[in-house]
Point group: C2
Chain length 217, copies 2
C-alpha cells in the first residue's frame, strides 16, 4: 500500500481549497494527508480551520519593507521541516521566489482561476469577463519562477453567463477548483502523474476530470 502523500498547504484566506482537499481525503478520494498549513496571514480563516482540525500550523508574515529574500528562505525552512512530498498553494497570496522553490523540499502546485495561458495574473475572472469569453475555468499547474506559467497539470471549464459579474464567475470557477485540485493531488499521490520531467498523466485518461460541467450556481 502506498503511503499517503505528505502535503504542506499554504494559504492566506478563507481556506476553501484547503477544506475541499481535506474533504476529499476524508472521502478516500485523495490519497494524501495534510501535515501542515502554513500562512503569511496569522489568524486567517484557513489557518484557524486547520488548527480546529488538529493540523499543525505555522505562520510567517511578510512585513512591509521587510527583506523578501530572507522571508522566502525562512518560509522554505518552515515548510521543509514537515518533510512534504508536495506543497500546495491554496489561496496563498504571495509570490514565492526561486530560492523558496529550490529549498522548500518538494514540488509546488497552484490553482489559478483561468484557462491558462489566457488571463495570467490578478483578477483573472474579471479579465475573462472583459474579454467576453463564454468559457472560463481553472488550471492546476506546477509553480516555477514565472507567475502562472509553470507546466499545466489539469484544467476544468465552466460557462460564463451573459449576466455574470466577476464575483459570480469567480464563485462558479471555485466550484470546479474544489473538484479538480484534490483530483490532481490524488493523481500525484497514486503516482499516476509524475512531476519530474515533463508532467504526463498515466493509467488511462479521466476525460471527465479535464472537463467538468457543474450545475450552474
Amino acid at each position: 500500500m502506498t503511503a499517503p502523500l505528505r502535503l504542506v498547504v499554504m494559504a492566506s484566506g478563507r481556506g476553501s481549497n484547503l477544506r475541499s482537499i481535506l474533504n476529499a481525503i476524508g472521502n478516500n478520494d485523495c490519497l494524501a494527508e495534510i501535515v501542515a498549513v502554513i500562512t503569511d496571514k496569522p489568524g486567517c480563516p484557513a489557518v484557524e480551520f486547520a488548527a480546529e482540525k488538529g493540523i499543525a500550523t505555522d505562520a510567517l508574515p511578510l512585513s512591509r519593507g521587510a527583506d523578501r529574500g530572507a522571508w522566502n528562505i525562512e518560509l522554505a525552512q518552515k515548510v521543509q521541516r514537515f518533510s512534504p512530498g508536495l506543497i500546495v498553494l491554496a489561496g496563498f497570496m504571495k509570490i514565492v521566489s526561486r530560492d523558496f522553490l529550490r529549498q522548500c523540499g518538494a514540488p509546488v502546485i497552484n490553482v489559478h482561476p483561468s484557462l491558462l495561458p489566457a488571463f495570467r495574473g490578478k483578477d483573472a475572472p474579471a479579465q475573462a469577463i472583459k474579454a467576453r469569453v463564454t468559457l472560463a475555468g481553472c488550471t492546476v499547474h506546477l509553480v516555477n519562477e514565472e507567475v502562472d506559467a509553470g507546466a499545466i497539470l489539469a484544467q476544468a471549464a465552466v460557462p460564463v453567463l451573459p449576466t455574470d459579474s466577476a464575483a459570480e464567475l469567480h464563485q462558479r470557477i471555485q466550484v470546479v477548483e474544489h473538484q479538480l485540485f484534490p483530483q490532481v493531488i490524488d493523481w500525484i499521490g497514486r503516482g499516476r502523474l509524475s512531476l519530474t520531467g515533463e508532467p504526463r498523466l498515466t493509467g488511462g485518461v479521466d476525460a471527465d476530470a479535464h472537463l467538468i460541467s457543474p450545475r450552474l450556481l
Copy 2:
C-alpha cells in the same frame, strides 16, 4: 413565423462545417437556409458538395501576385448579390479585408479551433499541444479586421489527451465545431443573439451549448 436566415457560406476545403450546418438545417435544429456557397478554390470538395445539393455556388480565386484589394471588393459583390442575412466562414482560408466586411452586406462569423483569446492564428491545435494545455476547444466569433479577434459568440471545450498529435486534437475539436457552429447560427436565426452592438445571448442560457463534452474519438 420567422423567415429562415439567409446564409452565404464561404469555404475553401473539405466542407465539413458546411455539411454540419446543412444537416442541422435538415433536422430543424438551425433556423436558416444556405443560399450560396462561395469559394476561392474552384473545385474544392465544399463547393462540389454544395453543387450536388442544388445550392448556388460561385468562385473567385486569388491568383498569385493579384490585387488583393480588388479581389476583396469583387468577392464582397459576389456575396452581396445573394442578399445574405449572415455570412459564414466555414474553412475559408483567406483573410478578408475591411473593405470586404463593409461591402459584403451582412455580419461575418467564423469558427476558430482554439479557446480564444488563446492560440490565435495558424495551427491552433499544434499551438495548444505545444503549450501543454489539457483543455482545448473552438470559438465562434464575429469577424473584424484583426485575425481571430472579433467578439466571441460561443465556445466549446474538449480534453487534450497526453498522447494527442495536433491532427488528433484537431479532429476532436472539429466534432464540437460541428455542434457549436449550427447552434450559434440558430441563435442568430431566431433573434436570440443579436450581432448589432455588443453580442449577447437572450432567452435563457443553454449552458450545455457553451460546454460540450463529446465522447472521445
